[in-house]
Amino acid sequence: MGESTDFISDLPQSIIENILTRLSIRDAIRTSVLSSKWRYKWSTLTDLVFDEKCVSPSNDRSVVETSLVRFITGVLLLHQGPIHKFQLSTSFLQCRPDVDQWLLFLSRNGIKELVLELGEGEFRVPSCLFSCLKLTRLDLCHCEFDPPRYFKGFSYLKSLNLHQILVAPEVIESLISGCPLLEFLSLSYFDSLVLSISAPNLMYLSLDGEFKDIFLENTPKLVAISVSMYMHEDVMDFEQSSDYSLVKFLGGVPLLEKLVGYIYFTKYLSIGDDPGRLPITYIHLKTIELYQVSFEDANEVLVLLRLVTHSPNLKDLKVSASPIQLFPLEEEGFDLFDREYFDYKLPRLETVKMTDVSGIRNELEFIRFLLGTSPVLETIIVTSSLSDKDAKMDMVVELLRYPRISPRAQFIFLQD
């Protein structure tokens, strides 16, 4: 006769759930056919993660859709107890009444983390979502978001991620203000958004889209910012505002440790009247990454210089110089650098990476500036977008000429 008793079924439920949570939902549910003890062990899992891999693949989209819907409905029905996390990420489901039903069910079962990434469509988030007041995390993708009048916000929400959401801008603002504990905010794929962000506990901010104007009104605890700013064709709108965007955006983030800006971010920051010195020093800022900085535009170079000189603890600097010009500018003078900038020191700067350098004056002067102000600089990586070998050689020769105050500073020239 066979053997010992089974050695796993009598482990405490907390351990079983620890194990089942690490399996795909499909594998977890399949454990219900193992033995009579295992029949309902999966049914109290509090985290449910679904995608189209839960069902057998098929060439026919509608078959996948139906079986996925049936699967999820079945899981929710057989489930017992609270559900803390529900994640559904699939392009196979778009606007379906079933999703509304699931959200209603979840709203009555203590949902705390909700991730809904559906395919493109006009899924309108049902009103039951706004009664999920225990939410700590909300990720929505490809939805329409229209809260009722009585909705004040999610008072426990810590993480909000909205991607390609159809929503009125004032709704976003009031949503953000209505979530006082918000620590992570990501807004992407928005059109012409004008936003004023007031979030006293916000630590991580990620913006990606066509923003017209962003004002970080009250975000004292921000630690990391990542912005991809696409711009409207009508740049004229920008010229009208007189407040210096750099101050409006980065004036109130003293705890900033990492700043990343893509596309037109630097251009956006350069708009407005430059007041001279910045009102703030970024003593914690260690990493700056700015892409598509247009070195031909003196204002953008100024923004770059300001940021760099006001960050005494800057350690890594990455600048990509490829210009995405809306209209070509006359190359402005580089007398910026003859001012007091060389009195600054960048005492902690260790690595610099400059990419897509095309050898224009401002770029070279900027590198000269870095070499002359960073005593502990170790590596400076330069990649060039020049195709002409001679021009490249001239540039390299010029760069190598510059005096370096760091004895260990080394150039590394890479092919693009």
């Binding site: 066979g2 053997e3 010992s4 008793t5 089974d6 050695f7 796993i8 079924s9 482990l11 405490p12 907390s14 351990i15 620890n18 194990i19 089942l20 690490r22 399996l23 795909s24 594998d27 549910i29 399949r30 454990t31 219900s32 056919v33 193992l34 033995s35 009579s36 003890k37 295992w38 029949r39 309902y40 049914s43 069902v55 509608s62 859709e65 139906t66 079986s67 049936r70 699967f71 409905t73 079945g74 899981v75 029905l77 057989l78 489930h79 017992q80 107890g81 606007c95 379906r96 009444p97 509304d100 039903q101 209603l104 049902p126 009103s127 039951c128 009664s131 009722p148 009048r149 009585y150």
Partner: protein, 351 residues
Amino acid sequence: MSESDMAITKPEMMKSYIWLETADGSIQQVEQEVAMFCPMICQEILQKGVGSSKNHAISLPQRVNPAMLSLIFDYCRFHQLPGRSNKERKIYDEKFIRMDTKRLCELTSAADSLQLKPLVDLTSRALARIIEGKTPEEIREIFHLPDDLTEEEKLEPLKNTMDDPRIRLLNRLYAKKRKELKDREKLKSIEVEEHVDERSVDDLCSFINGRDPKVVKPSKSKKKNKKRKEPKNGISNGTCEASKKDSHNLDSKPQSAEVVDKTASSLGDVSNLLSMEDDIFTPKTEFEDGYIDDEIDPALKEMLDREVEDFARRLNSSWVLSIGQERQPVHFSINGNGNTRRLTGSAAGHK
């Protein structure tokens, strides 16, 4: 590294030991810093002051046997040194969990009772990797699980494709289960009805709202319905109890009774996927409607209006796109005779 060097040069001076007693009575001693890595032992030492001598050894929980204890201490001895890099720790962990499955389970259990969460997570991850992607037979083989489910029970959990033969088989199973339950009810001498399809919405709502069923509007209650109220409640209660023993929640009134059970006792173990899919729609909204008449504050009323609006909108939009025979268009009522009643109408029926 330097710490262990120091330990070699000055053995007695540096180390202090903790005494531990496993459930089988054997007593071990282990270096203090190793033992303190386990929260449970740490707590015992700090709060109760035991462990410093052989006579006052800390008694360990039953799930920890001497073999597991020494494994756990190997783990602790490695990880309690702060100087190790993350990569080193990962490599050690991967090697550490290479053992047969039975020992892995014992180790998980022991680590859990000592509250050593990093080790529990490590072993759980390993066990998950073992289970992942394997067929039930393989898993049963590995873990020595008894194959004690009936064939029918195995069919129930979620299937991705409901082929026709399966549907037929399931229907046969339901009929069988229905019969079983009916027999059981007979033993408890409760009347059982055969068909419920003429069950009125008002009866259902009134049951849900907990009112005396006899107070239901007379225009809706025919003699038939009145007679059914007592047994209706009885059956629901009966099934509530029955289902605690039996995994199947089916009774002779598959549609409404089950739903009532759901709302009444929120039992999760209904395996009747097909009919349940339709049923959850009607009764839940009815459930909400029952409140619309009461005095409620405007905010709640608005919220409920919106839900009704949502529902109506949904129904008007894409039900046509729904696929397959399983999903029939939603009936507003549970009346089997097919006459639909609008939601507002049924709500009005409560006044």
